[in-house]
Subunit: 194 residues, 2 copies
DNA sequence: ACAATCCGGATATTACACGTCCAGATTCCC
DNA sequence: GGGAATCTGGACGTGTAATATCCGGATTGT
């Protein structure tokens, strides 16, 4: 699954935590998580096209939540970023080679392998659709009580200058960090116990 | 999800349908589905390393099922081919930018976004683990009654020459076919209604 | 008018899935 | 014992998609 999903969920939560009707620009959202602004904008555009965010152009423009968090499921966000395709794509190898003879017999019969993978995918999608961003927000606040206030404070004083410890060019510099490789052991990831 | 999962499941089913204790070589399995033999061998090796198949070297060697189909779940095959990593990889962007201040607070707290995605992944894995290859085989035979006999017949006479309509070089030629693009409409895929 | 922003496309870079090839080891058959 | 077929593991090449940047155009606030 692409990294954009993580970015999208966190940005939606941030927009809700700010509790501010004014739109938030891509640059400010990107600074809040040290993400490459131009690329984050692509993900936000996808969210807007999916109806999860609304975008307003102009000098005071940016993105806002199109509806409250309890009306946005994780399935909505994943579909907006990843597209509607299933993870398992049946290429019908059963109809090649030995299955090629007598094509009139098997052609319209569903592939049992694809059907089974499809059922598992449905279970995944149902689990995603059963969890709203409001649920995720509540769980995060349960872990860290002062979360919303801290974010409001950061965005309140941060304005366009991202952070005292992070000057303007830090976002593009931090963006060069590659995703942690699965094969390499615990290299750069913090413990994050739990 | 990589294409190797489809190959692996179909190959396991074929090995069961043959009802023959003798090992089947990569070349014969590849010919049966017009797959690139060298690359299919990589997937079969992964299945062997996962304990799903057993491999025997030598001139009459090849691959056999390590246990009956009802002891092999789709989860086993997917894990063998795709590895143990979850689809959603949390990169902890919550601890970058505004979350970087006060690292002592949030570091050991689980990420609610990752937790929610993890629950969905668990639902997927449970659904995969609940379906054995015996279930898939039964469903396929329900669709096409004569399936096992047809495969036995093909492998019985096919020997090392793959097929009358498919000469020796056809497998590598057919392997050049790219996976159907999601964006392009119905281009090359057969109807496969169901 | 100007600056900040969104929008959409073009382009570059990187990672990974896909696929081939080769040397080595093992086993079967002659 | 020798040769052929096969598995094993690694190196290597290729092509596509994810990642990331940039630019021109449109829109809006100051």
């Amino acid at each position: 699954m692409s990294e954009g999903v993580e970015w999208a969920v966190h940005c939606c939560l941030t927009l809700a935590w700010l509790e501010d009707d004014r739109p938030v620009s891509t640059a400010r959202l990107a600074a809040g998580y040290e993400l490459p602004p131009a690329y984050l904008n692509k993900q936000l555009q996808a969210l807007a096209k999916a109806g999860i965010l609304t975008s307003t152009p102009g000098v005071k423009g940016g993105f806002r939540l199109a509806r409250p968090l309890d009306k946005i499921t994780l399935m909505d966000v994943v579909t907006a970023i990843e597209g509607p395709d299933e993870a398992f794509q049946c290429t019908e190898i059963r109809q090649r080679g030995m299955g090629a003879e007598g094509p009139e017999r098997r052609f319209r019969v569903p592939c049992a392998v694809a059907s089974a993978m499809h059922r598992a995918e449905l279970a995944w999608r149902r689990a995603l659709a059963a969890q709203t961003l409001a649920d995720v927000r509540a769980e995060a606040e349960g872990h860290v009580p002062g979360l919303g206030e801290g974010i409001q404070r950061w965005y309140g004083r941060g304005a366009s200058t991202p952070s005292p410890a992070a000057p303007a060019g830090s976002a593009s510099a931090a963006s060069r960090r590659p995703r942690a490789s699965r094969t390499s052991g615990a290299s750069g990831a913090p413990p994050a116990t739990g």
